[in-house]
Symmetry: C2
Subunit: 462 residues, 2 copies
């Protein structure tokens, strides 16, 4: 059988285009409309997508409330993703369920528990997109005066992940015997404490939920900075990324796979899934018209505001039809995205407004406008040439942009044998061809740790 690609459905509430909510077909209140999410998730499942994907931000993205008032996409009016993921687990049966959660503003015990819980609720379909938060404003909602610097966030993320992995390994897979006759609910020799004490966290464990169907939820990662790629190579099983050209996509792909190998993993242990923002029409002209319809709905202030936020600098004092300044400083926000944008502007000679409109359209991701054949040609090229193991599909608007992809692009992918016609597995790991991790953390048995604790107390008292 031909190798097949993985596909994710990246569900921004109204779609990924900045003006998506203004599209005549868009569900403008999508961010808090559960029926909308359920329908879109069920459509993606009927189409056999590997997973759906929810982004997150623990606070609005941006400070300018006058500008934010024109957005639906800047986390001003959306469900919290883990509660939403729980709800979607109940109305789907096969599709993987991936949500974003930040290691900077969460506690590992809480997050490990929630993702294990969703993995149990869904029968093994959970995935965690680990982020360190690219949005500086989150800090102010969590008692901090500033967002921690990039390297500190990644240090914390690395420790956070080690703790959650340890917690997911608290119980052996067969610890719960639940023998009604003997009255033994679990085998006390098969539960382990963690007793972690590190730079950022102190966590005793064990986690108070059995090891989940997938062992660990699938670990997803999306940072493309040096620190992000290091973490991805060492630990991630799926990597989302924004890559504009085949050459860039290949460089990124080979880089992360090499890091995985250097970390003692197989290249197949990590799946590289760049984002794709597809605008599809039965003809090229129809596709282009669909795109123009959306672009025409973008207010220039919105384009500028998105670009300012992406670059982390003010731009509205500059001529909008002129070029970007050449001396843009590297910020503490998402460094990799910043560099990509600067390269894009230079490569295509875009003005500030043109770059703003481009970013507002596909939000810095790989934008492909055309017929199903044209789009599949480009996907296939990357897929067959070490540019991608699959794609995270970013529908321009919902549900129409997803429906177009399902009805027009998927048949062409299937005609070429590049995408499944039916699920073969039950879990997200099975869909993606990822191994179920064996318990490998070596903790003290909880029953021994407790006995030691008691012995120490007794001896201190004597």
């Amino acid at each position: 059988m031909t190798k097949q690609m993985a596909l994710g459905a990246f569900l921004y509430p109204t779609g990924h285009h900045a003006a998506a909510w203004r599209h005549p077909e868009a569900q403008a209140d999508a961010g808090i409309n559960f029926k909308h999410y359920a329908e879109v998730a069920q459509a993606a499942e009927a189409a056999k997508f590997d997973m759906l994907f929810l982004a997150d931000s623990a606070g609005a993205r941006g400070e300018d409330w006058g500008a934010l008032a024109r957005f639906s996409t800047h986390y001003v009016a959306q469900f919290e993703p883990l509660t939403l993921l729980g709800a979607l687990a109940a109305v789907t049966e096969r599709i993987g369920l991936v949500a974003t959660a930040s290691t900077t503003y969460n506690e590992p015990y809480t997050l490990a528990r929630k993702f294990a819980s969703i993995d149990h609720i869904s029968g093994g379909r959970a995935g965690w997109n680990l982020v360190t938060s690219g949005n500086e404003g989150e800090a102010y909602n969590f008692g901090r005066d500033r967002h921690p610097p990039h390297d500190e966030r990644y240090r914390r993320a690395t420790e956070f992940l080690a703790v959650t992995e340890g917690l997911w390994d608290s119980w052996e897979d067969d610890a719960f015997v639940r023998d009604k006759d003997s009255g033994v609910f679990f085998d006390p020799d098969k539960v382990y404490s963690l007793d972690h004490r590190g730079e950022y966290f102190g966590v005793r464990g064990p986690l108070n939920i059995p090891r989940s169907p997938q062992g660990w939820p699938v670990l997803v990662q999306a940072g493309s900075s040096e620190a992000g790629k290091a973490l991805a190579g060492a630990s991630a099983e799926v990597v989302f990324t924004a890559q504009q050209t085949l050459a860039d996509a290949q460089a990124f792909y080979r880089d992360v796979k090499a890091r995985a190998v250097a970390a003692g993993r197989s290249p197949d242990d990590v799946k590289i899934m760049p984002g794709i923002f597809p605008v599809v029409g039965r003809t090229e002209a129809e596709a282009q018209a669909k795109f123009e319809e959306l672009q025409n709905l973008i207010h220039p202030d919105v384009a500028l505001s998105i670009l300012e936020h992406r670059l982390g600098i003010p731009l509205r004092h500059l001529p909008l039809d002129g070029p970007l300044p050449t001396d843009i400083p590297v910020t503490n926000a998402a460094q990799s995205r910043q560099v990509l944008l600067l390269e894009l502007a230079q490569r295509e000679g875009l003005s500030i407004l043109q770059l703003g409109l481009r970013v507002a359209g596909a939000r810095g991701h790989w934008q492909v406008i055309g017929t199903p054949e044209q789009i599949v040609d480009k996907m296939e090229e990357r897929f067959l040439n070490e540019g991608a193991d699959g794609f995270n599909v970013m529908p321009p608007y919902l549900p129409g942009g997803l429906t177009d992809f399902i009805e027009l692009v998927l048949p062409e992918l299937r005609r070429r044998g590049l995408f499944r016609t039916e699920y073969e597995g039950r879990t997200l790991r099975e869909h993606l061809g990822l191994k179920r991790p064996a318990r490998h953390h070596k903790h003290t048995k909880a029953i021994d740790a407790a006995a030691e604790h008691t012995a120490a107390k007794t001896s201190a008292a004597a």
Copy 2:
């Protein structure tokens, strides 16, 4: 129309009896069996319960893993309640959905967001049972060397609640206009920052989700200590409590209602719902036999272990058929429950083992064994005499214990006009007859706060 009582279905995974999981009909893996929870929730909804209720503990309850190995009920193998609540929201339509979350080991921004999210997903059915954590072991999972003292926990809880209320009031109810023609998604004059800086928390806000259908989720509280009752009187809308006798129930009821009035609220703004552990049979003998069947499944070690945990002191060095020691110290755990148990043992002259078996049975709650008429007589007596506005029903085992209550007790309650035959409202507030809170927090408009911030930066730079 006669005044009618409120009913909650308090869903411990296998039921409330300590040996419930060993019952022949019990679903032993209930704690991680979503189908089980969905069926039980749907049965409670079909029976028109006001709400279902999920308890929580961020860690196993207890340290003795040898003893814990015999329990299903000590938070060793259960779904995390907020992800479960999200899932249950998707498979129910009318019943209220209440989950417990601790103010000691969470952040207010995160929790406010999750409960608002569940209120949106469920169309206005969410409730939050605010606890400060009675389980000392949770501390070790969150980087603490000890569980904070009782008064400190309640100080933090009070500030936590004020912050969450403020965050739920971030947006005016009609802030989101979503006008596709003009491109205005929300009215920037209708969003408010919080700018809270207190003893425990610094939270800028606004919350990044619209004001939810109920305005605020229903606020539930269960602490019966002095500090717990103070918080309940000032803020709670539903109070769960364990009361053994009519006189105690009345004293508690009048106390909390008086505190509500002293805080400027109406007595109807807070509903008192004691727990009831009903064992129902068509005859008294049948009920008693059902209870004995369960009691006989309790291992003495389990009874002792539960009692030790409840009282916070070791007991296994004492003769099990002798009385409790008279000099039990007040601990930092759940003080009110401790006092209730000591009074119960004294009143009925129970030995350590007898008290242990009693606690293991109904877990310190009001245990009523008998025919439907006998049980309804007792419920009616409390309901009509300022002992209760309703009850939190604690089925001894699931699903049988809930089915018995629905099939045998509810018809008798309805015959006397004491419980609804159909939902009249859509939201949990409507079921309970609670007002939807008007926005009353006076924050700075976010757009003004941001402008001030910018002005300050500009003037500092000049």
